[in-house]
């Protein structure tokens, strides 16, 4: 059975196949010329000692085996811990972000005055999120309550103005609880903009007639949400889940990234950093695979139920 099939495939380089290759050509070229060599280099670096050649420039690699991996996993005091911390916070953040964005998207999907403005406001964190504004977006809760404006504008950590708190009569504990809660909420909102938008678009694709029919059949709003809304947006929830994971893992302001780039650029431990990068990528890839699988499974169950 296999043989004739294979034969047919070989002969049938149709016009459409050619178009397919042509259309993807820029990306294939990019992958082959830039992405893959990067990856290969990274792997080579992680398995060898890099020796920068003086004089003519360039570098030489001396094979060292898995010693840098061993260093990252067994000897380094920080890498393991940071990795676990990142993973555990991701485990909490991702579902919270997804639920939050679905909630906001379904409210924004309703008809009310000013909803265009409301939608734009929720997308702002996606549109402007670099430099000083990113710092303010991340830290405005503590800026307003604890540290003052100065640090925000100069982007530095600098002298906190925490002492001022002691002059306020409210209990320290209460303030810090409120600040922590608000900062957490802020973080979630800040990373949910894109997801809200994607889910909103998905919700708008659900025909009204579906809800009307359900209403006639006597479904409550709650039932409609679970039996119509959720199953219709499962594909987009998967996209959003993957997007969320990727944006968490590729953020450059996480402690683990700062640690790796310090090793790479400040301490010049190129091979060590490369090994950590490879390990990190493997963990990230694994997580994204599992994450997508879990969401897909949950979606299938939801559809069945």
């Amino acid at each position: 059975m296999n043989k004739p099939k294979r034969k047919r495939k070989k002969h049938a380089m149709t016009r459409r196949d050619r178009a397919g290759y042509l259309f993807t050509l820029p990306f294939i070229l990019g992958l082959l010329l830039i992405f893959l060599p990067c990856l290969v280099n990274l792997f080579c670096f992680s398995f060898s000692e890099i020796q920068v050649l003086t004089g003519g420039g360039g570098y030489a690699l001396n094979f060292t085996g898995i010693s840098y991996y061993r260093k990252a996993l067994l000897e380094d005091p920080k890498f393991n811990r940071m990795l676990v911390e990142l993973l555990s916070s991701t485990l909490v953040q991702t579902p919270v972000i997804l639920i939050f964005s679905l909630l906001v998207a379904s409210i924004l999907n309703q008809k009310f005055r000013g909803r265009t403005l409301a939608r734009m406001i929720f997308f702002i964190p996606v549109v402007v999120s670099t430099g000083v504004i990113a710092y303010v977006q991340n830290n405005w809760v503590s800026i307003m309550t604890v540290s003052g404006m100065g640090n925000a504008l100069t982007g530095g950590e600098g002298a906190g103005l925490q002492e001022l708190l002691s002059q306020v009569d409210v209990g320290q504990g209460l303030i810090s609880v409120v600040v922590t809660a608000a900062s957490g909420l802020n973080k979630i909102i800040r990373s949910a903009g894109m997801q809200i938008f994607v889910l909103l678009a998905a919700l708008q694709e659900i025909p009204d007639s579906m809800y009307e029919a359900a209403k006639v059949e006597g479904c409550s709003a709650w039932e409609c949400f679970w039996k119509i809304t959720i199953p219709s947006v499962v594909p987009q929830i998967i996209i959003c889940g993957v997007y969320t994971l990727i944006s968490i893992f590729t953020a450059t302001d996480t402690p683990i990234y700062e640690y790796i780039s310090t090793q790479e650029f400040v301490n010049n431990q190129l091979s060590f950093a490369a090994a950590m990068n490879v390990l990190y990528l493997m963990v990230v890839g694994f997580c994204i695979l599992i994450g997508a699988g879990v969401i897909k499974l949950a979606g299938r169950n939801g559809r069945r139920g």
Binding site: R16, G20, Y21, F23, T24, P26, F27, G30, L31, I34, F35, C38, L42, L103, V104, I107, N109, Q110, R119, M120, I124, V126, V127, V128, T130, G131, V132, I133, V136, Q137, W140, I143, M144, G148, M149, G150, L153, T154, G155, L161, L164, L185, N186, I189, R190, V198, Q204, D208, Y211, T229, P235, Q236, I239, T252, Y257, E264, F265, L281, G285, I288
Partner: protein, 281 residues
């Protein structure tokens, strides 16, 4: 979720929720705009004020003054950033949509493998590949040219991913077959049928790409002063310590105004297209 039977109290609660969340999103921007209009004394007040009591344009004047005194004429930095943003965005969105169309609708052998490779490329961020990419750029002879920033941006896979997912949802195969039967070439199908129908997707891709490229700062790949970007020189203007705090806010406002303008424009487009889309299977 449209107009279902819900109690008044529930409605009020939901909108209160939206109001609070919206406040969280909008507040940092308001704060920065307010700051850019504050004098030095007010800037350092604690607790901070949101709206300036004595608004002044001094920060903006200082900023323009600093812009006039840069090493290379300021227009040069601006031009570099504009070139990077426009070329990078156009290339990224067009190549991305082309590849998305092929991977989504043209069933050629090997496409799954290509797609999985592309998705894997999503996971990388610039730090991971910084050193290898420098070596590759150097091999390609592109160190210290704008292409060192543009070229990787062209291959940014996020837009491809977004557009492909959108195509899968919104373009029925039957529509493409109909167009082919009417004698459209693959390019014609792509450009005249598919692209108009996935406008929301590429509007979003344009927005994300502009946002990233407009703020791109030269890394190790560019060292000539005349090839550096606006975000770099703006960083220099605002990075002169505490006394420049107000100027820094002004710089931020100026830099974020462009992505916001693009957003306001494309947002309108996106909503219009979404409302008008009659493409349902």
């Amino acid at each position: 979720m449209k107009r279902l039977n819900r109690s008044k109290g529930g409605t009020v609660l939901l909108f209160l929720f939206i109001l609070v969340m919206g406040f969280f999103c909008a507040f940092p921007m308001i704060l920065i705009i307010g700051n850019s209009l504050k004098g030095v004394t007010e800037l350092w007040k604690f607790p901070p004020t949101v709206f300036p009591k004595n608004p002044t344009l001094k920060n903006y004047r200082d900023m323009f003054q600093a812009m006039a005194g840069t090493l290379v004429p300021f227009s040069r930095y601006l031009m570099n950033t504009v070139v990077i943003t426009v070329v990078g965005t156009l290339g990224n969105v067009i190549f991305g949509s082309m590849a998305a169309y092929a991977l989504c609708k043209l069933r050629f052998p090997g496409r799954n493998r290509i797609f999985s490779l592309i998705v894997k490329a999503l996971m990388f961020n610039a730090t991971v590949t910084a050193i290898p990419s420098y070596i590759i750029m150097s091999n390609l002879g592109m160190v210290d040219s704008l292409w060192a920033i543009i070229l990787p941006a062209l291959g940014s896979t996020l837009s491809l991913y977004l557009i492909k997912q959108f195509m899968e949802q919104s373009i029925p195969d039957s529509l493409l077959e109909a167009a082919r039967l009417d004698g459209a070439s693959e390019w014609g199908v792509f450009w005249r049928i598919v692209m108009p129908n996935v406008k929301p997707a590429w509007c979003t891709a344009i927005l994300l790409s502009v946002q990233a490229l407009w703020n791109s700062s030269p890394n190790v790949l560019i060292y000539s002063e005349e090839k550096k970007t606006m975000s770099y020189v703006m960083g220099q203007i605002s990075a002169s310590g505490l006394s420049r705090a107000g100027v820094s806010a002004a710089v931020t406002v100026l830099m974020m105004s462009v992505p916001i303008l693009v957003f306001i424009f494309s947002q309108n487009q996106v909503l219009k297209t979404m409302a008008a889309s009659g493409m349902k299977e």
